[in-house]
């Protein structure tokens, strides 16, 4: 039986940022800067969302020559629905200021 846990404030913040432009691919570091979530928290959340099919990711060539390709992320269709539902069901003012200002 799957438990449907309430997402953490950091997860909500991440979903809020990804939801602003659901069809745009985002880099991990840019998400970190936008949400002010540290990498040690961000990546476990990205992994869990990806495991649940809410997030898709791919490698994208860097536009700058000599730079390694980067891993980019965006919400899947079900991820977008989930994010909207979770954010609507939560008090938006409880989210970190960084993500609130971007909403």
């Amino acid at each position: 039986m799957k438990r449907d846990r309430k997402p953490s404030a950091q997860t909500l913040s991440l979903l809020g940022v990804l939801l602003q432009q659901p069809r745009t691919w985002c880099h991990g570091y840019d998400i970190c800067v936008a949400t002010r979530i540290k990498s040690g928290t961000l990546y476990p959340i990205l992994m869990r969302l990806s495991d649940r099919g809410l997030l898709e990711h791919k490698w994208q060539e860097s536009p700058e020559s000599g730079r390694p390709p980067r891993h980019v992320y965006r919400l899947t269709a079900s991820g977008t629905t989930y994010a909207r539902a979770q954010i609507a069901g939560n008090d938006w003012t409880s989210l970190p200021a960084a993500s609130r200002s971007r909403a």
């Binding site: 039986m1 799957k2 991990g28 040690g40 980067r70």
Partner: protein
């Protein structure tokens, strides 16, 4: 583009290597993702903090895989482990049934001479019978374990799954309680050889079987309708 090898950047690179080492194999793609972002961070301080977070992620994921992993090991290792865990309890059960003081030797004369009419004799007899009943889980667990090891038949019976864990724990609790009633605080004085022997027995007859049962149940598929502890 390579970054100047400052001390902070070198330490950060070491953190990234640590994260890659710690990350479970199933997550190795994520290590590469974190590494590629690291290579794009110009500021050394930010790169250092990023790498520290990645190392933390590696540790978290490793612990997660250890906690929620399937703990599957080779049958050649599982067989001796199960023997080690359940053979002592099985021997105790055998001794309790047909040893010199086993239940099969009980008859009216023995009961009257050693138990009935002797102070505390009835309680001792009851505890002896309860101990043998609880120790029955030893041979049952051995049978279930080797059925799974040799025939790959999982333990599906919910009552058996509970009994495999509960019986050794109850046996241990009962033994410690009786011992504490009998000898008081001396039970916990490990400096005494007697107490040390007692706790060695508890380790072999209660702790190890419970641990072995937990491992056995962990690698055996759960019956339908049981909560799946691997969900996050």
């Amino acid at each position: 583009m390579s970054h100047p090898a400052t001390a902070a950047r070198r330490i950060a690179s070491a953190f990234m290597r640590g994260a890659a080492t710690l990350m479970p194999a199933a997550r190795i793609g994520w290590t590469k993702a974190m590494r590629s972002e690291f290579d794009h961070i110009e500021n050394d301080r930010h790169a250092f903090l990023w790498a520290a977070g990645c190392l933390l992620t590696g540790i978290k994921e490793r612990m997660n895989s250890m906690i929620h992993g399937d703990l599957k090991i080779s049958r050649w290792l599982l067989a001796p482990e199960m023997l080690l865990c359940f053979a002592p309890l099985t021997l105790l059960w055998l001794d309790g049934i047909e040893g010199r003081s086993g239940l099969l030797r009980l008859n009216g004369a023995v009961m009257h001479k050693h138990f009935i009419g002797v102070p505390g004799g009835t309680a001792f007899l009851v505890s002896m019978i309860a101990g043998v009943v609880l120790a029955t889980i030893g041979p049952i667990a051995l049978l279930a374990a080797f059925r799974m090891i040799l025939l790959r038949m999982p333990i599906k019976n919910a009552a058996l799954r509970v009994a495999l864990i509960a019986a050794p724990i109850l046996y241990g609790l009962m033994s410690v309680t009786l011992r504490a009633v009998e000898t008081g605080t001396a039970t916990f004085n490990l400096a005494s050889a007697d107490a040390f022997d007692f706790w060695s027995g508890i380790f072999l007859l209660s702790f190890l079987p419970a641990l072995g049962a937990a491992h056995l149940l962990r690698i055996s598929p759960r019956p339908p309708g049981w909560p799946d502890s691997t969900n996050h």
